[in-house]
């Protein structure tokens, strides 16, 4: 998964050709850390159809808020630079994330 930040977000996410999923995470978010290995697996599995990025909100708080992310974990999907879906909540599961990926590829 590609690590993005406020400097690379525009180019890597908004201008990407493929659909993109961004995993917004933080070090103190245990649910995020728990989901991470599963998300990495999904990123492998769907690497041909979708681009997968992760964004540590540390230092990128304003960027996260500009993307209307104000809680972790948050998985945000972009198609042609447009935000199309935002999954969140501490009960989020890998299965739900995979379902959503399938909708956009």
């Amino acid at each position: 998964m590609l690590e993005v930040d406020k400097n690379s977000f525009e180019e890597e996410v908004l201008q990407a050709e493929k659909p993109v999923m961004v995993d917004f995470w933080g070090e103190s978010c245990t649910v995020c850390l728990e989901l991470m290995p599963g998300v990495e697996e999904l990123a492998e599995k769907y690497s041909n159809e979708m681009k997968f990025c992760k964004l540590n909100i540390k230092g990128n708080r304003r960027l996260a808020m500009s993307q209307q992310v104000m809680g972790l974990p948050s998985m945000v999907f972009y198609v042609d630079g447009e935000k199309v879906e935002h999954l969140s909540g501490d009960d989020l599961t890998i299965e739900e994330i995979e379902e959503e990926i399938k909708k956009h590829i």
């Binding site: 850390l33 728990e34 909100i57 209307q68 104000m70 969140s88």
Partner: protein, 402 residues
């Protein structure tokens, strides 16, 4: 056949990890099943640990790391898995997990804790991750110099409101009670009153969450007047209590209260022999880390005693080759002591009969199972079945059944 653990602990929060420390230290083969990648339970979601004795310079997540390390030091195994069912077949219990695994054990300790209660108001679900939160340490970072609302007035709500003032510019606490009344402890109330960043709205609840993309308004409702007011804010933290994680127990036959907490006796046993409950998940007065830890210790020791009694009974009585005379006695009952002396003088072994003594004061499991109400009581057991039952017998009566 798969491995049979002595103790299977469901949930690796403070209660489960304490139980694991006690049971693995007593050399019981111990497994902790924890649904999350990281053990530690609720304390992994908040910062301050102000009231755990002897812990002064540590955060709650750090303390949980120590609990885990301590349990592993004595040999407890922590595995990832969400328990979904417990089947009890006498001494053998089978725990099934969501991903289809099965674990077998002689005893089970349920310490699945509790999770935050949702309010269930309009917009709450929609704005999750967009300003509505149930975990201050997870999300506080987002709210630096912004204004937030905290719904609730118990210990957690007030503690977290105070914590949030390190980040937010203003924290408004919504209290359902009359002015000046909160469920939180006095010391927390004082701290909150003294904090310049905290304001209170009394007699009110959250009625709706509004916003465009992100939360921008909390609609509050005064429960006395029914009047609604819109409070502009950037985040809403909801701490209105917790609900026990017992939904998975409904099919197992473990007795629950109307609110879903597990009913236990003094030894923290549930209604199923060899199945115990510890921590926030059980019906009790105070739900804190220290009481969770205490419960853990009690259940581990109770489970150890249960296993010992059950194994002793199986080996010496149920699986015995010869006929067995079981004498129920108690150190405080003179008659029973006298009877034990007489039985011992009868040289039963020479007559092909084995004598087993059960101290009813220590071993309540077996006396209850065989409904022994008066002592001394003597049972004759042949191939695992009771063939004679004598209450306060004379020596001649005992001779007769031999």
């Amino acid at each position: 056949m798969s491995k049979i653990y002595d103790v299977i602990i469901l949930g690796g929060g403070p209660a489960g990890l304490s139980a694991a420390i006690y049971s693995s230290r007593s050399k019981l083969d111990t497994l902790v099943l924890e649904e999350k990648r990281k053990a530690g339970g609720q304390p992994t979601t908040y910062e301050d640990m102000e009231n755990y004795p002897g812990v002064l310079g540590k955060t709650a997540p750090e303390l949980m790391e120590d609990f885990r390390e301590h349990a592993e030091k004595f040999g407890a195994i922590i595995e990832r898995g969400e328990a979904e069912d417990i089947e009890v077949d006498g001494f053998l219990k089978t725990v099934k997990t969501k991903d289809g695994q099965e674990y077998k054990g002689k005893s089970v300790i349920i310490s699945t804790g509790a999770e935050p209660r949702k309010l269930g108001v309009k917009g709450e679900e929609e704005f999750k991750g967009k300003g509505v939160s149930y975990c201050a340490t997870c999300d506080a970072d987002f709210f630096v110099d912004l204004e937030v609302v905290v719904v609730g007035n118990g210990n957690s709500a007030i503690e977290e409101a105070i914590y949030l003032t390190k980040f937010a510019s203003k924290v408004t606490v919504i209290v359902i009670h009359d002015e000046g009344i909160m469920d939180a402890e006095k010391i927390l109330q004082e701290k909150a009153y003294q904090n310049d960043k905290i304001e209170f709205v009394w007699n009110s609840t959250l009625d709706e969450v509004k916003g465009e993309g992100l939360v921008d308004t909390a609609v509050l409702k005064n429960i006395k007047t029914g009047e609604k007011t819109a409070l502009s804010c950037d985040g809403i933290f909801i701490f209105i209590g917790r609900v026990p994680r017992t939904d998975f127990l409904e099919v197992t036959g473990v007795d629950l209260t109307d609110n879903g907490y597990i009913k236990t006796n003094q030894k923290l046993e549930t209604n199923l022999a060899g199945v115990y409950a510890a921590g926030d998940v059980r019906d009790k007065f105070l739900r804190q880390v220290i009481t969770a830890a205490s419960d853990g210790a009690v259940t581990a020791m109770a489970a150890g005693g249960y296993i010992e009694e059950e194994e002793y009974w199986q080996e010496n009585v149920l699986e015995a080759e010869e006929d067995v005379l079981v004498a129920f006695w108690s150190p405080t009952n003179e008659d029973s002591l006298e009877m034990i002396n007489k039985l011992e003088a009868m040289d039963l072994a020479d007559r092909g009969v084995k004598l087993v003594k059960i101290d009813t004061y220590k071993n309540t499991l077996i006396s209850e199972r065989y409904e022994v109400e008066e002592i001394p009581t003597v049972l004759k057991i042949k191939d695992g079945e009771v063939v004679d039952n004598l209450v306060c017998p004379s020596l001649t009566e005992v001779e007769e059944i031999l």
